[in-house]
Structures are given as structure tokens and as C-alpha cells.
């Protein structure tokens, strides 16, 4: 058992589950999407990305790429949230919420790809 793989697997799956948790619910209803969850998703995704830094394998490079995509989408979602709450006069509108959730949905897709890749790698190692 490789501890590095355990830690990375943990964070990448956690990123996916948290992301899913934030994503589910009515698209434009702010009550269904909590800011704490978004915060957790961002942090966990950042950690998963940094964990793949300096990995010279082909799989490592692809995983780094998918994690970077997820981080990018989530950071944009966080910025949209901040702008909606603090920089616009209307506050959090259903439109803003919908775009935040759809961004996080994109990030979730990237996280799904990461997890699928991880599973494939594991299966190939087993064989």
C-alpha cells in the first residue's frame, strides 16, 4: 500500500463528494447551496492539485490537468459569489446562484474524470 496514493485518493474522492453535495438541489435556489460547502470544495480541490505537483508519470500529468480545471471553475464560482454579495446592488439573485452552481457542476465533471482515471489506474495496477 502506497501512502501517497491513499492520501491523494482520499482528497480526490472527497473533492468529488463535496462538490456533489454543493451541486445538488434546485439550481437557482440559494437555500439549497451553502457557502461553507463551496469553501470546503475549493480547499480540498486545491490540496488535491498541489498533491499532484511534480508527478512525472503520464497519469499524474493528466490528473494534475483535471484538478487544475476543477480549481479554475471553483475559483470563478467563488469570485462570482463574492461579486454578487458584495459588489452588486441586488445581492444574491437566482441568476447569480444558477451560474455559480453551473460552474461548480463543471468542476464536478472534472472531478468525476479524476476519480474515473484514478479507478482505471488502480485496476491496471491490480492486474
Amino acid at each position: 500500500m502506497n501512502p501517497e496514493k491513499v492520501v491523494f485518493g482520499f482528497f480526490i474522492v472527497l473533492a468529488l463528494t463535496l462538490n456533489f453535495g454543493f451541486f445538488v438541489g434546485e439550481m437557482d435556489n440559494p437555500a439549497h447551496h451553502h457557502v461553507y460547502e463551496l469553501f470546503a470544495v475549493v480547499i480540498v480541490n486545491l490540496i488535491a492539485t498541489v498533491l499532484k505537483f511534480g508527478d512525472r508519470t503520464q497519469m499524474g500529468a493528466v490528473l494534475l490537468a483535471t484538478s487544475l480545471v476543477a480549481v479554475l471553475q471553483l475559483l470563478v464560482a467563488a469570485v462570482v459569489w463574492t461579486l454578487a454579495v458584495h459588489a452588486s446592488d441586488d445581492g444574491m439573485t437566482p441568476t447569480a446562484m444558477a451560474s455559480i452552481v453551473s460552474l461548480s457542476g463543471g468542476a464536478m465533471l472534472a472531478n468525476v474524470v479524476s476519480v474515473v482515471l484514478l479507478v482505471i489506474e488502480t485496476v491496471m495496477l491490480k492486474r
Binding site: 457557502v35 469553501f39 486545491l46 490540496i47 498541489v50 498533491l51 505537483f53 511534480g54 512525472r56
Partner: protein, 570 residues
Amino acid sequence: MENIFFIVFRRMRAPLLSLIGAYAVAVLGLVLIPGQDAAGNPWHMDFFHAFYFVSYTATTIGFGEIPYPLTDAQRLWVVLTLYLSVVVWVYAIGTLVALFQDTTFKMAVTERRFARRIRRMAQRFYLICGYGETGGALVQALTDRDQSAVVVEIRPERVSHLRLENLRQHVPALCGDAGRPLHLLEAGLKHPKCAGVAALTNLNEVNLKIAITAKLLHGDTPVICRADSHDVEANMASFGTDYIIDPFDTFAAHLAMAFQTPGLHLLHEWLTRLPGEDLPEPVNPPRDGLWLVCGYGRFGKAVHQRLVAQGMETRVIEATPESTGVPEVGCVVGRGTEGKTLREAEIERAVGLVAGTDNDVNNLSMVMTAQDLNPALFLVLRQNLKDNRPIIDAVKADMVMHPPTIIADKIRVLLATPLLHELEQLAAYQPNSWACELLSRVTALVTTRVPAVWEVAVDAQGAYAIAEVLAGGGRVLLSHVLTDPLERTKPLAALALLLVRPGERVLVPEEDTALRPGDRILFCGRHHVRDRMAWTLQNCSSLSYILTGAHRPQGHVWRWLSPGRRSQAG
């Protein structure tokens, strides 16, 4: 190489993770801990403000308690996270600084910069492996003639020595083992502009490996190897190493040439020295009489063999005959630095002395003692170390032989002007009078300065204009090339030394020789003449002026307007 990228990210993983962790904990704490707004109502800091607050406190900027003054519970949390985050920052920056000073990292950066520089080389260059005395002399000789070199050297102090050297060209140097193919590839072995490889390290095995690598990975480049033993020479020759140079044989052959055909020796000196220097004086070593050879090492043996082959009477002076061996006759045991040994070897009736030990101080001492005993002696002095030049020059020996310089010159000729090497091989079969006649013709051209020597290939690259005329069925004579393109009645101050075409090698070709496509010609002459000649070779209207005496119309319109010349121009 992407090495640097990976080294940085690999090392920065832990600091970045701790930064993310510290920020996450601090921000989350600030969001969770209840505060108060200006009116005393309960208020929770949101993520945006918490991140803002942590950012300016962690970087020790400290704008104050924004937007509302903190409660005591918040302050307690801030105190804890402040220390945590500052420590993590120091850790991250410290790691980065340590990384930049890391030797592995520095080497990766240097190698990357070197590889990039090599990839961008636009000029033909020579790959020199080993920057010892010989490699140094070769690099100097090449750069003095505006040619590029790339050096691979294993000793860091020699590489820094190269960087301090005042060379006319920048010479990229890689500090690495030339025996490793990776380093040779990085140094541009497979680069299309790599015009030759010289293996000059001190180790025969490494030279052998360089030769094999070069032959396998880039078969067309000429490979020149230094070899100290005949075994290794045979091994190198077995897989087609182009030239193998034994420093001692080369050196002795050089000396023998000075004896046998002084004219040829002088011609060699004139054509291989740095253009623009004063022409070296001729040397005339006495051929009849007793010669003393001091030192019977590999060098002394080679020289002795040549002297005996010339039928000269010789005496060998050797301090340790039991380790070097001695010839059957004419040997004196001693160091040769004191008068007693020299007198024993009958210095009074000797005509020449070869001070050929591998110790410059002993050689000098020997020469000075010998000069006292017999002032008329012809002195041949072997110089071992380049740095001893001033004291070697001070004793005014008749011939000074610095093996690295001689080898370097030979390699430079082989690499940069292979025709000059062919000329010397052909000239070796010519009588001394032939050399003397050629010498007087060269003197007439250049008077007192060393001439420039250059090669011209009659093809689309080397002589575009001539190739065009020849392809169109025209006729160009050698005399046309040797005409001033500015004034066709004047000749250029240059001389064709050798013409090589398939199946034919003509020494000093006649001026009315007709050129053919694929000819290669070796010229010598004044330095600026080379640039002048380039006009005739490359510029169609210059050549047509020389051939016909008329200026050809340049543009399409003018060509069209002058119907009489249209056929000729087309």
C-alpha cells in the same frame, strides 16, 4: 529540459500544502466565530472578508480590524492563526530560496540554458570534448578564426577557466562527462550545424567512447581522436574514426619535416598561423653532426626514431634508463641539466640539442647549460605548460614545440580547412625546391603578413553565381575568380593552392583551368581578398562583369528594355 519545472514543484508541494491548510483553518475560524457589527448586533464574518483579513495579516501588512472591530473571541483566534500563517509563509519562502541555491537545481538551470543555446546555434560549430591544454589551444585557434566551438569538460575548474578566457567568440561549455552520450547529445552532437567532433580528453577510454558515440549517432560528422597508445589507435580506426592523432608522433613528424624539407615546414607554418601576424622566419636545423636528445620518454623515442631515420648521429641522455629503456648505442645516463653529463655526451662537437623531457624547468636548465658550453648549438625546446610561455620565449631557442598547440593546429586544419590537410599530404611528395618556389609566390602576395587560407566549393551554396553560369552551359576559368570584381583588369592578391575534383587533385592549378561543378579550391591570400572574392562567387552581375566586361541590367524592366542583352541575361 522540464527537469527544473519538476524539481520546483516537487519541492514546493509541502510548503504549498501547509499554506493552503493554514489559510483554510484561519478563514474557517473567522467565519465560524461570532462577532458584532457597529451597533452591537451579532454578525458573522463572511468568507470574502475572512479571506481578506487573513491575507493582510498573514503577510504582516495589517490594515486593522475591518469592517467592524473584532470581539475578544475573534482576537484570540487571530493571534493563533497570525503566528501560524506567518511561520508557514517563512517556511514556504525559505524552501524556495534554499531551492534556488541547491546545487542540483543550479546544475539543472545551467544545463537547460546550455541546451537552449546549443539548439539556437546558427553557425557551424565543432564539438570539443575535453578542455585541457590541447582543447584550450584548439578552442583558441578556432575562435581566433571566427569559428564556433562547443566544449564538454568534466572538471568544473577548467570550465570556469574557459569562462574567464578572453576569446573572440562565446564558447558554450557544459560541465559533464563527455563519455556519457546524454551529455554529447545535449552539446549538439545531432545538431545539423555540428561540423565535427574532437575527442581530446586525457583518458583513452573516454576518447574511444566519444568516437563510438559520434559514429553511431551522427555518422557523417568527422571525428578526430587523440590517442596515446597504438592499441587504442587501432581500436579507434576499426570503426572508422576519421583522424587519430598521437601527440608524440605528430610532434616528431613536425620536427622531421623541419630537417628534411625546411621549405615545406616553413610553408606549413605560414599557412597555419593566425592571419595578420608577422610571417615566421625560416629555421634551418643543421643536418650534419651530432644531435643530443635529452629525455627518452614517449616523446624522446619518437624524435630519436625520426633522427635516426634521417641518418643522423645521435646521443640520448636519460636520467632513468631502467624505466624508459634506451637505444643500443649512444646513451648517456644523467639528467642533462648539469655540465658533466652534457660534456660526457660530447656537447662540444654537437650541432643540435633536443630538450624533450616533460618538465619545463629541467628543459630550460638544460638549454641554458648547453648554451654556455656550446653557443653555436641549434636548440629545440619542448614546452609542456602553456603558462610557461614567457620564460620559454626568454631563452630564445631556435624551435619551440608546444605539443598541445601543434595538435590543436592540426585538428583545426582538419576540421576547418580539410583541403589544407590534403595539400600538405600532397606536398610531402614534392621536392624542397617546389616548396621554396611556392613560398616566394606567397611572399609576393602578402609581403610580411601571414596569409588567410580559405576553401571555395563550386556549388549553389559556395559559389552561387558560378554554379548558375556553369549550369547554363557557360565557361568560367580560375583566372576569372582571381580577378578583382571592382576592376576586371586587376588581379586579386590571392593564389589557388589546390583544386580537388572527383578523381583529380591538382597542386597549384594553372590560371586557365576551367571550373566544373563540384570543384573544391583552396585559396590563400590577403585577408580582405576573401570578402572581395565572395562578390565574384555569389553575385551574378559581378561575375557577368568579369566575364563580359559589361554591367548586366539588374531589374526585369531594364532587362526587358535592353533587347540586345535579353538573351544573354536569360
